[in-house]
């Protein structure tokens, strides 16, 4: 199976940032597969395990910038869960860097693009083509 990076993107900011990126025609690795969720706070840790067990190399959780969650504290909650989950991964001897959170505003397509490629590069060693 080709390497896959799952991106759970909140429909308010991160998914819109991806659209913003799309309008600029910035390219993402083929293995990056976005799934839209209501809020980054709606991403349960079980989904992270499910993604990893089914072969995803990494999972990115994209939410609104800090303090700007549309549901008040969804992204804060997501961040706490990610921290605990990363601690669990580390305790199991797995790399905690296989899951991470990215907090971007809807206009920050270029930043999301950078973050995704950075993550992809760390996971696969492939860099973005110039």
């Amino acid at each position: 199976m080709k390497p896959v990076l799952i991106g759970f993107l909140c429909e308010w900011c991160a998914a819109r940032a991806l659209e913003n990126m799309a309008h600029k025609r910035l390219k993402l690795p083929d293995g990056f597969l976005p799934l839209r969720v209501r809020c980054s706070g709606a991403v349960e840790p079980a989904l992270l395990t499910e993604a990893l067990r089914r072969g995803a190399l990494g999972v990115l959780v994209g939410g609104c910038p800090r303090g700007h969650c549309h549901y008040r504290e969804g992204n804060t909650r997501a961040e706490i869960r990610l921290k605990v989950y990363r601690k669990l991964l580390a305790a199991l001897g797995l790399s905690p860097d296989r899951v991470r959170g990215v907090w971007v505003g809807s206009g920050e397509g270029e930043r999301l693009h950078r973050e995704i490629w950075q993550f992809w590069k760390e996971l696969t060693g492939e860099d973005r083509p110039l």
Partner: protein
Amino acid sequence: MKIALYNALSCGGCDLIFFLEDLPGSFLEDLEIVFWPEVCDHREEVLRNLPEKGLEAALICGAIRTRDQEKRVLLLRNKARRLAAVGSCALYGGIPGLLWEKGEGPRPVTEVVSCEVAVPGCPPEPKTLREALEALLREEDSGGKDRGPVCEECPRTRRPFRIGRLKKWGGEEVLSGDCFLARGIICSGPVTRGGCGAVCPGAGYPCGGCYGPLEDLAGERLLSALASGVLPARADEFLEGLVDPVGTFFRFFLARSPLLRLRKRRDEEDTA
């Protein structure tokens, strides 16, 4: 009725349950124990000499670690008409499941052979064992799959809660009769299948999850629940207090966790 009992990697606690008086009379009548290494016969040829499906039933406790244990269980599967996995170790890997090292670790019996009857618990409550044996006699497959969480049976008082700091078990928190989680003590009740009657929380001890995961990925769900209950301002304090995430979230079923399998796969790749 010819039966066999076998103990793989376990503490032996489940065996003791068989000495309780609470077992069904119909089960004890006309019972012939052909093989039970701890109590009567331990010779493998006794089993080997039996015809295929020559045993009415076999009850297996403990997790599988060695090649011998695996062979013995496969043999029992061949000789017994019906197989019962007894205890958390046999069902989910149990406490020995935490004993994982590079590339290997104990496996639940249920991952080696198929079992008709499941008897959860560490050790199972007598009531659970009796019901399972009755099911065995009635030729039913059992597993208690339709049960809700331990909390449904828990006598402690529930109220909405937020976790400020994790607390160690003991003291006033135990006596108060309030939900452990609401008091900042980790309790696996919400992610654990009921059936035990919530004996531990009832007796003042938080649930460790021995009756098995209510759902797939129960460890992650407990993690989520705790991380959701934490006050954002005190998240770092919480994280610090969480000393042993693996033992906390996966005490009785780490051996079945997909994350552990990922780790094993990585180790295998490393050695390869």
